[in-house]
Symmetry: C2
Subunit: 264 residues, 2 copies
């Protein structure tokens, strides 16, 4: 069993102020943290008015940039694995991505598969599936915001061995915090949803983000949950048991699956 010191960071970015947003967010990481999860698009803000605007504010992690540099420097100095949502540029494509940055500055990426509302006009849909990565002594998968409503996202990650699902988000619909409890239970994994607060007025209609960032354990217990109003970090020491899918003495959620009876 692994004891993992985790934190979920809830922020209120100002659109386009990459330097300020990154500095404020990274300053909120508690000391002694093995893994910290930040919101979707934490550096840029959410409500791009056009694909060109997103391309202009995005960066390519393969060639570096201010956001990846700051994440790498902070991961190294604090010995924390960081997960954060970024606008990712790859040539003329732009993705709503989540990066995982280890203390040795090595990094991994997930590209949001299920785009929400007018994100479809801004971003390219993710094309890397739902990969799972070794980090801070365990196996971590990432999904971003609206991926929550598709059970296949968390299912794919958990079946591939993820013990922790990190979930940067910019939630506006009210249902996700409760649904992530089900995601944890059905897959027996920790889920860490890092959401933002505040609103953005750049377009009609203005969007109001719901906060309620949380960490949920494999039984569906809410370990910590923030409110809808304040920026902040919440910490939790998680006891990660590897491949523990036993829900009763005779029910192992993996062995009990019956794919021959499913058509989905």
């Amino acid at each position: 069993m692994l004891e993992l010191n985790t934190a979920v960071i809830q922020t209120q970015p100002e659109f386009g102020d990459i330097g300020g947003n990154v500095e404020r967010a990274l300053a909120m990481i508690p000391p002694g943290c093995d893994l910290a999860v930040l919101p979707e698009l934490f550096a840029t803000g959410y409500q791009f008015l056009s694909r060109d605007e997103a391309l202009g504010l995005a960066e390519d992690p393969r060639s570096g940039g201010p956001v990846m540099s700051a994440l790498g420097a902070t991961a190294a100095s604090t010995r924390t694995t960081l997960i954060a949502g970024i606008a990712e540029r790859d040539g003329d494509r732009v993705f709503n991505s989540s990066v995982l940055v280890r203390p040795d500055r090595s990094w991994e990426i997930y590209r949001k598969v299920h785009l929400f509302w007018n994100e479809k006009e801004i971003f390219d849909p993710g094309d890397l599936g739902f990969p799972v990565f070794e980090a801070c002594g365990t196996r971590i998968g990432m999904m971003v915001c609206f991926d929550w409503i598709f059970p296949e996202a968390a299912r794919t990650l958990a079946l591939a061995g993820a013990e922790v699902i990190a979930h940067p988000a910019n939630l506006i619909l009210p249902w996700c915090p409760a649904a992530m409890i089900t995601r944890s239970q059905e897959n027996r994994v920790f889920t860490i949803t890092a959401n933002r607060i505040g609103s953005e007025e750049r377009d009609q209609p203005a969007l109001k983000f719901i906060g309620m960032s949380q960490i949920v354990d494999p039984l569906g217990e809410i370990v910590v949950r923030l409110d809808s109003e304040r920026e902040g970090a919440a910490s939790a020491a998680l006891r990660v048991r590897e491949k523990d899918k036993l829900i009763t003495p005779t029910n192992d959620l993996w062995k009990d699956r019956r794919p021959d009876q499913y058509d989905c």
Copy 2:
């Protein structure tokens, strides 16, 4: 759009008193009901001490029996489609099944795929997949109790066109009523969970059933929910929109699925 008068029936069966249990349960069906859902194993009770005891109390719907006769007679006289959990005998096999009985006395069956705890010593695992049936003007799928924790069950039914998922249950774990909200949301279907109350003392440990029978709409709103203490029926007129999977102007939950990115 179809307006469907539905009811969920919450009972407290006495183990082995098939005649009394069936009579009390069917008397609770409200008048003017198109579809009523009763709990798992509503006629026999739950806690069989052996497979032989289950075989002895089960009946084969193909050759009739007191439970199927009563369901058929009540469906015909009340013009209600009935869904109820029964112990089903088929030769020397015995299933924890759910039957759908139409007012014309035609019937369909689902055999519980995911057996819970020591049900594995009593019943054979379901072998009919998750079929969807035409009834009372819409398409109905069935799942039984513990099937709730496997997202593939409701997913298979909804992808096959179910607009209503009927869910007879004998719940003892506390999580299902909330999880069924997620099942409704992620699949945009109505879910009707009919649970029992009370406890059975036949074996160690005694089981306490949680009630909280409910009907949830495709947005995840609880239309009706009963408590954990009392028998009773709750009615709801449901407005069933066919194949309505649109969650935002640009997000259709079916068209947005990306099976090429899943591995589950």
